[in-house]
């Protein structure tokens, strides 16, 4: 019991910590980072856009690793990690797509275009929604863990393609980090302040991801122990 409380304490600190970090990142994005000359203030979306995209990719990568580890070791905890991480990844990729769309309206003059990057990101998003859907379609715990792990591995195949899409196909999506296609619309060079802000936001989101996944795993563990208590009572 005390162990449980201690874990709770740590988690509470971490939640507060990520809240404060987000406040600082909002300050940095809105005030510390300079205004971009051509695009103006709308460029500030970029920081959360990149950070949430990064968390999406990271979350799906963790799902992949946890799925592989589950199939090797058959430990139930890896299944919990895989599932929680995919859920968080879907949320962040949604944020990534929505923020990109808001940015694209003034810069590309359209909410949406069937550009390779946008298309592959949407496919990735659909894949992990399918993953969550698959999760609901399996009632047996043990079987669910095995089957979703296999799908978690298959689904990850799309993630590197999304990352590579702006680099291998001709696209209008800018590549700020690394070289870009001359066709890209909304390209800009980062000043040192912008780089600092971006790195800080990415770090903040990573902390936020860790907090969220911890919460999610804890809730799942509680659900499992609760269902054990129930089945025990019915058994008696």
């Amino acid at each position: 019991m005390t162990n449980y409380l201690k874990q709770n304490n740590k988690l509470a600190y971490m939640t507060i910590c990520s809240f404060l970090l987000i406040l600082i990142s909002v300050y940095m994005i809105l005030i510390y980072a300079p205004q971009e000359i051509i695009m103006g203030d709308v460029q500030r979306i970029f920081y959360y856009h990149v950070a949430s995209g990064w968390i999406g990719a990271l979350a799906f990568f963790i799902t992949l690793i946890a799925s592989v580890l589950f199939l090797i070791t058959k430990h139930e905890k890896y299944d919990l990690v895989a599932m929680s991480s995919a859920e968080i990844g879907v949320v962040f990729i949604s944020m990534n797509i929505i923020s990109g769309s808001i940015w694209a309206r003034p810069v590309w003059n359209t909410w949406w275009t069937w550009d390779p990057r946008l298309t592959t990101a949407t496919i990735m998003w659909l894949l992990y929604i399918a993953y969550l859907f698959l999760h609901t379609g399996l009632e047996n715990h043990h079987r669910r863990a095995h089957i979703t792990s296999v799908y978690g591995i298959v689904a990850f195949v799309s993630v590197p393609l999304t990352f590579a899409a702006i680099r291998i196909w001709r696209t209008i999506h800018p590549v700020v980090i690394g070289s870009s296609d001359p066709n890209a619309e909304g390209q800009f060079d980062m000043t040192p302040e912008m780089t600092t802000t971006l790195l800080f936001t990415v770090a903040t989101f990573t902390v936020l991801y860790c907090t969220l996944i911890w919460h999610r795993i804890r809730i799942q563990q509680m659900q499992i122990s609760l269902s054990k208590i129930y089945s025990h009572e019915i058994g008696n």
Partner: protein
């Protein structure tokens, strides 16, 4: 000459795969339901597209390859659902699992029989398509691309159909699981086919062609590595 044990297991593996292919064929030859329904379904799709897009001569050239691939993909999905559902009907999959064979040979057998079914349908649809749309489909390059695309699609489809059958949603969930996973293959196959039709040189189409091969190889790897875990549960 003595056979090494390695040789023996390989022969056994292929024998059991062949047995599964032969069994699926025998059922199909007696029922004749799968191939005929796939064929009629493909023709329907071609017709619906013709009406829906109001295809005149100029519009046809731009979208023809896309429609061809959509037809293949839908027909293959129908076939995938059927070949796996076949094993669910009387729980015959349990029977196959009880037999002392390498479990990956079940995947290989199921995959090859689906692949053959889909290829037969494609062989029927392509001449009809040629007659309807007057598009030069019979170049060796294009056939290679179609075979490679079908290979990857049916392989990952067999794997995911096995997953779908083990959920409570059954057939409904297969397209949801399969379409996003197979998109890289479809995208590269369509790009390749378009380039072939527009008479591009080998160099110009090497990008999507390589992507197609890479994804085929990735799916072979993933399927072999994960199928055991899937079927045991």
């Amino acid at each position: 000459m003595m056979k090494s044990p390695q040789d023996n297991t390989t022969t056994k593996f292929w024998q059991s795969s062949l047995a599964i292919i032969w069994k699926d064929w025998k059922i199909e030859l007696r029922k004749k339901s799968l191939l005929s329904s796939m064929l009629i379904f493909s023709l329907m799709i071609v017709l619906i597209f013709t009406f829906a897009l109001d295809l005149d001569k100029s519009a046809r050239e731009n979208v023809a390859i896309g429609i061809l691939w959509v037809t293949f993909v839908f027909a293959a999905t129908l076939g995938l659902n059927q070949t796996i559902a076949l094993e669910n009907e009387n729980s015959t999959l349990d029977g196959i699992l009880l037999s002392p064979i390498d479990q990956t040979s079940i995947l290989v057998g199921k995959f090859i029989s689906t692949f053959i079914f889909v290829t037969i349908i494609e062989a029927f649809v392509m001449p009809i398509y040629y007659i309807l749309f007057e598009i030069p489909l019979f170049s060796p390059k294009l056939i290679v691309v179609i075979l490679l695309g079908t290979f990857g699609y049916t392989l990952v489809g067999t794997l995911l159909a096995t997953i779908a059958m083990r959920t409570q949603y059954r057939e409904i969930i297969l397209p949801i699981l399969l379409f996003p996973v197979a998109t890289p293959i479809i995208i590269s196959a369509v790009q390749c086919s378009n380039k072939i039709l527009s008479g591009a040189s080998w160099n110009q189409m090497s990008g999507p062609f390589n992507l197609l091969i890479v994804y085929d190889i990735i799916f072979v790897g993933i399927a072999i590595m994960t199928f055991d875990h899937l079927i045991k549960e």
